[in-house]
């Protein structure tokens, strides 16, 4: 067990350590375990590359995509959880099946569209593309979590005169809160980590992962240290989320499994 944890964490530890090493220390063999840490890699990033811009853009895209997916997906999840109508299972299955689409199948037609609309390299493009994955995810997760909330409380509120919408906001949402937070977190993380769509659809104003991949194409000496620093920066949301929402995620996952 311990071995497993070590296996999992060693690369991450290595990455973080590398981001603080000087170039000389990185490529030396045997690898230096004890070295003089430096912030020069991070500073280089800030001065010579567009990492800050990439960060900003990643944040905007991820945040907007999550919010949009939540706004549209939550009501849909609610409908799937509460109502029983004809073809309901078909609709649910269809929403889920959009995951089967390989991203490339979606990408090629969209390239044609964005070309025609001249919308390459914009925020809106990426946000919409990310919706393709985020929206079904939010709908599915929220329908599951909303189902967990007992109907009686909500019905009682409605009998007392609440409209459905108000009942949703005041009563159901707080109860299903943790689950929905998990859905939002996953959407955000996915959007942040997403590379393929961003890679193809943006050039000058790209999100962070794409900016980082630009480092590889330098031809000459690859600045490993800066690469590692950029990687650490890109991994920050994941680490922050784990630290902050550890119990939340664990609980959410557990609930998610209980079908």
């Amino acid at each position: 067990m311990i071995i497993f944890i070590i296996c999992i964490y060693f690369p991450i530890y290595w990455l973080v350590v590398m981001s603080f090493k000087q170039q000389v220390d990185i490529v030396s063999i045997p690898p230096k375990w004890i070295f003089k840490p430096t912030l020069s890699n991070y500073l280089w990033l800030r001065d010579h590359t567009d990492v800050v811009g990439g960060l900003k853009r990643s944040l905007i895209v991820a945040f907007s995509s999550t919010v949009l997916a939540a706004l549209i997906g939550l009501p849909a999840g609610y409908a799937l959880a509460r109502f029983n109508f004809k073809h309901k299972d078909d609709v649910a299955f269809w929403i889920l099946s959009t995951r089967f689409l390989p991203p490339i199948a979606v990408l090629i037609p969209f390239i044609v569209i964005w070309l025609a609309l001249d919308m390459f390299d914009t925020y809106a493009t990426l946000i919409v593309m990310h919706l393709v994955i985020n929206l079904p995810l939010v709908v599915w997760l929220s329908s599951k979590f909303l189902k967990e909330v007992p109907v009686e409380v909500e019905d009682a509120a409605r009998v007392d005169g609440c409209s459905r919408f108000a009942a949703l906001v005041r009563i159901v949402l707080p109860q299903a809160g943790p689950g929905l937070a998990v859905a939002a977190i996953f959407s955000f993380v996915f959007s942040w980590n997403e590379f393929f769509f961003a890679f193809v659809l943006t050039s000058t104003k790209s999100t962070l992962p794409v900016v980082i991949s630009g480092f590889l194409a330098h031809g000459h000496e690859i600045k490993w240290g800066s690469l590692a620093s950029a990687a650490v920066i890109a991994s920050v949301p994941a680490l922050v989320l784990v630290i902050v929402a550890r119990r939340l995620i664990a609980k959410g996952f557990t609930q998610m499994v209980v079908e």
């Binding site: 067990m1 497993f4 944890i5 999992i8 690369p11 290595w14 590398m18 490529v27 030396s28 063999i29 045997p30 690898p31 549209i72 997906g73 009501p75 849909a76 609610y78 409908a79 109502f83 109508f85 309901k88 929403i95 089967f100 689409l101 390989p102 991203p103 490339i104 199948a105 979606v106 090629i108 037609p109 969209f110 044609v112 919706l131 393709v132 929206l135 079904p136 459905r164 993380v189 980590n193 997403e194 590379f195 992962p209 980082i212 690469l227 590692a228 990687a231 890109a234 991994s235 949301p237 994941a238 784990v242 550890r246 119990r247 995620i249 664990a250 557990t254 499994v257 209980v258 079908e259």
Partner: protein
């Protein structure tokens, strides 16, 4: 002024308000935005993809007349050696990677179950690789796999006296190296789900088994495993679908190389359709084939499972 026309007017307004509030109370109101958005975003590209795949659009040859070519693209995709290779690579990658992940994940989940005190801590720790951007993971391992200065080779040389293994450039090792990375990143997913499943299991069968004198191995095989099966299947299928679409990791680590040894269908379609050619029609047909492939595999797996 009780004009009958007035009455009619008021009546119809009342009816519309009633109807809208009925609509508001119905499922459609809630579902509609999501459905419309999803329809536009997924169905439309899907159909357009199909349309593209039966034409001969080629971005790099704008002078070519755009005609309907029927199934020519599909025929080409199914006979072209490079295309077949990409399918083979994808299949190998998916099968090996997901199998290793499932087995490893199961083992670790079981161990975690025994150490239940530490479980939440472990889960929190183990989640991290999953949340990292795939591309970063690819980069990190690329650095680590570097033949000369990578840490992997150094450790191997130090402990096992194996020297200078070219993980990513050796044709026979490249795919395995990438599989290893995928396993590293996604086994936690299996662990998470299986662990949650293990938590949820009812106690009664176990108590009955203990009363009947079953030993550990029998308990595991006959009780734990079958109870775990539905969840296991879900996780398995999930990972299958996801792994069919690897682009990020592979692209950053090997970009399909050496040669075309790690060229999955996704990478192949990308190269053909966008970066090194403009044959979007051909690429569309490939991607549709990939989807069909995925669905076929899915159906096979689900059928096999239902039979058991």
């Amino acid at each position: 002024m009780y004009n009958p026309l007035w009455k009619f007017f008021i009546n119809s307004i009342e009816k519309t308000v009633q109807r809208t509030s009925k609509l508001k109370n119905g499922p459609l109101f809630w579902l509609l935005p999501a459905l419309i958005v999803l329809l536009c975003i997924t169905m439309f590209p899907f159909f357009y993809s199909i349309f593209l795949s039966v034409m001969n659009y080629d971005i790099s040859k704008p002078y070519l007349a755009r005609i309907f070519v029927g199934l020519r693209n599909y025929a080409q995709a199914l006979t072209n050696p490079r295309s077949l290779n990409s399918f083979k690579v994808t299949a190998m990658f998916v099968v090996i990677s997901v199998s290793i992940q499932s087995l490893l994940g199961l083992g670790i989940a079981l161990v975690m179950q025994k150490l239940s005190k530490w479980r939440t801590l472990f889960i929190g720790l183990v989640i991290v690789p999953m949340l990292l951007p795939k591309m970063i993971v690819g980069l990190l391992w690329r650095i680590m796999y570097h033949p000369l200065v990578g840490i992997v080779n150094y450790l191997l040389g130090y402990f096992l006296n194996v020297h200078y293994v070219e993980w990513l450039s050796d044709p026979s090792l490249a795919l395995l190296s990438v599989i290893a990375v995928d396993v590293w990143q996604w086994t936690p997913f299996m662990i998470l789900i299986l662990s949650a499943g293990l938590e949820m299991m009812p106690k009664s069968p176990f108590e009955a088994a203990q009363l009947d004198g079953a030993n550990g191995f029998q308990t595991f095989w006959r009780i734990t495993l079958p109870l775990l099966k539905p969840i296991y299947i879900v996780a398995f299928i999930f990972r299958l679908i996801e792994d069919m679409r690897t682009f990020d990791i592979m692209w950053v680590m090997t970009a399909g190389g050496p040669g075309i040894k790690t060229e999955t269908v996704d990478i192949y379609a990308y190269l053909v359709g966008m970066s090194r050619g403009g044959k979007i029609s051909y690429a569309s047909s490939i991607s549709i084939l990939l989807m069909v492939f995925t669905i076929i595999v899915l159906t096979i797996v689900t059928k096999r499972v239902k039979e058991n």
